[in-house]
């Protein structure tokens, strides 16, 4: 590796840190940014990905009466009682605009999750043709914050986000001409253009990138920085119950006790909070320590444009005798400035407090962040394609080739896998067992395929072919949808289903953009070959093998 780290001045060592930290973290960070930007529209993507659910909806969630909700909670409890009378956790979700069904979630003693959707009138499991089993847009959100790897994934994402913070700070230190080059973007100048693109996308959107990285860390602050909490408390539950001013957490006693009727608990809870409930949960069902919680329905109008969350209210009951233990009214804020600060950061990160214009703003700035990361990774290689820096001695060429392949798979490969997920959703038959899991497995398989392609093909051809595949998958998505479900863009627009139409319009737009860059790449290659077929360009086209 370069010896520059110990020999140069401060700025040079920051440059070393920025280059290598950025390269190593860049692949994962691009994934976090791209899936995060797509995840801004998670509910809309879920809406597009589950066309059956809307068509077969039997209830109107907005006009349910209290007795109807009570009946649904009863059906949910009956099902859960049968599937898992004793376990770690139950949750019953009442029909909402996005999910006009009863949603059940549970965790067994080992905290393995389970889920089932029920028909809200009959209380029976929904047949496959009425409900496409899919993670929908949440797939992207899960990629974004845990890479579908659970707690380990949350730690990985935090680790790389920390590197991003360091890369942003070191990037500011090494950029000599921040204000002079503020508006400078020269196209078609090779390495110079990539540097310009990297500078412009990061400098202009710097407030957003700093904010999104820091607030992202703040969302999981109790996971990432728990040291002082463990010095002060026996376990995190005690800390949280003190923070939320709730009765202390109770561990499982091992004494069996049945959960009382949740119907009464729901009625009491709704009465108390003065609004419909959205969820009823039970902690440790079957154990004498069981507690039930009723959560008030979130009102988006009430929370609109407010950075300090107003809270939708919640009530806690002893689930073995139905007695109220604690409650917090809607709009009642916990009087703790530091906690409020954390909540503000959380809301700033989640982008769901200002309607669609704000979502689009986050989406575009998130994509700008992805461009910042991608252009940095590409710049690293472009610089070395022209002239090897021999950081790895005799292995240098091989390492470069590996980096190039990872760049391709991480950038265009992931983009293909993401739009491919929409295709998988439409092509995978409805009656496949554990369908939602299979969709995600196929997503990863597709992504791995793009990596193999990047390894096997010369670098520039791999870039072009993957961009072309991405463009075709985007541009043909509306046609695929038309063939497989009969829905199409025009009918979406005529029926003013803007959420579904938005998904396809965005795909078309991104497809056109990709097509434009393929053309640009081809023209440049042709020009380069005509001008100076030097050793470097020939090598680059062969992928420096």
């Amino acid at each position: 590796m370069e010896k520059v780290l110990e020999q140069g001045n401060f700025r040079q060592s920051m440059s070393w840190l920025h280059t290598w930290g950025g390269l190593v973290a860049g692949w994962v960070l691009f994934c976090i940014f791209l899936t995060g930007a797509i995840g801004v529209f998670d509910d809309d993507i879920t809406h597009w990905m589950n066309p059956e659910q809307k068509q077969t909806a039997v209830v109107d969630p907005a006009s349910l009466t209290q007795s109807e909700r009570a009946a649904m909670v009863e059906m949910g409890q009956r099902y859960l009682q049968e599937v898992m009378p004793e376990g770690h956790f139950w949750a019953i979700g009442l029909p909402s605009e996005d999910h006009p069904v009863i949603r059940l979630f549970w965790q067994d003693m080992q905290e393995n999750p389970g889920a089932q959707l029920l028909d809200p009138l009959k209380g029976e499991p929904l047949p496959a043709e009425q409900n496409r089993q899919t993670e929908g847009g949440h797939h992207f959100v899960h990629m974004h914050f845990e890479l579908h790897a659970g707690q380990a994934g949350i730690w990985l994402v935090g680790f790389f986000t920390m590197i991003m913070l360091v890369a942003l700070v070191s990037g500011i230190i090494i950029h000599r001409r921040i204000f002079k080059d503020f508006f400078t973007l020269r196209f078609s100048k090779g390495q110079r253009s990539w540097l310009d693109a990297h500078n412009v996308s990061s400098v202009i959107t710097l407030p957003f990138q700093l904010m999104i990285a820091y607030t992202g860390l703040a969302v999981f602050v109790a996971v990432y920085m728990p040291a002082a909490m463990y010095v002060n408390y026996q376990n995190p539950e005690d800390f949280f119950s003190e923070l939320f001013e709730e009765p202390p957490h109770q561990a499982e006693t091992g004494i069996k006790a049945e959960v009382v009727s949740l119907t009464n608990i729901l009625l009491q809870g709704e009465q108390l909070l003065g609004r419909p409930a959205s969820f009823v949960t039970v902690e440790h069902p079957g154990d004498s320590s069981a507690r039930a919680r009723v959560f008030g329905l979130f009102d988006p109008d009430e929370a609109f444009g407010k950075l300090v969350s107003q809270g939708s209210g919640r009530a806690m009951f002893n689930a073995t005798n139905g007695q109220l233990m604690h409650h917090r009214m809607p709009g009642q804020v916990i009087d703790n400035p530091a906690y409020s600060a954390q909540q503000i950061m959380r809301r700033l990160h989640f982008a769901n407090y200002g309607g669609y214009t704000v979502r689009w703003l986050y989406f575009l700035l998130g994509l700008a962040g992805a461009v910042m990361i991608a252009s940095g990774s590409i710049l690293f290689m472009v610089k070395r394609r022209q002239k090897s820096l021999n950081e790895f001695g005799r292995q240098t060429a091989r390492v470069y080739r590996g980096i190039e392949a990872l760049n391709i798979a991480a950038i265009t490969g992931l983009a293909i896998a993401c739009i491919g997920f929409f295709w998988i959703n439409r092509l995978l038959p409805l009656d496949v067992d554990i369908r939602a899991v299979r969709e995600i497995q196929l997503f990863f398989l597709l992504w791995f395929g793009t990596f193999l392609h990047a390894v096997l093909r010369p670098a520039l051809s791999a870039w072009r072919e993957q961009l072309l595949l991405f463009a075709s998958l985007c541009l043909l998505l509306p046609i695929l949808n038309w063939i497989t479900t009969g829905d199409q863009l025009i009918s979406y627009i005529v029926n003013s289903d803007w959420r579904a139409a938005g998904v396809e319009l965005a795909a078309l737009l991104l497809g056109l953009l990709a097509l434009y860059s393929v053309r640009h790449l081809r023209q440049r290659q042709a020009r380069q070959q005509a001008d100076c077929p030097t050793r470097a360009t020939i090598q680059a086209q062969r992928g420096i093998s």
């Binding site: 110990e6 060592s13 002060n232 530091a338």
Partner: protein, 94 residues
Amino acid sequence: MHMTLPYPARIALLILAAIIGGYVFTSAAMIFFSAILPMSRTGVLVMTALLSFVVYCAAIIWVFAVRDVGRAWLGLLLPSIPMLVIGIWLTETV
């Protein structure tokens, strides 16, 4: 120390100093300041944890500004020990 080790080993130790040493230093500072600041217990814990990312980031930058394995490790661990001891002692006794 860094005269005897080969270059890749020194770089690896420096990176570890940034990641692990920096994290230990940050945690120690968090424990210390949450013990001495006059705020509610939950409040001070949330506040120090929120600010800890700034401290961690600064510690990492500092390690690469120093670029000396011995100084980096010592510089992070030496202040960590008293902060940890005093912080834990104060938390346990008060």
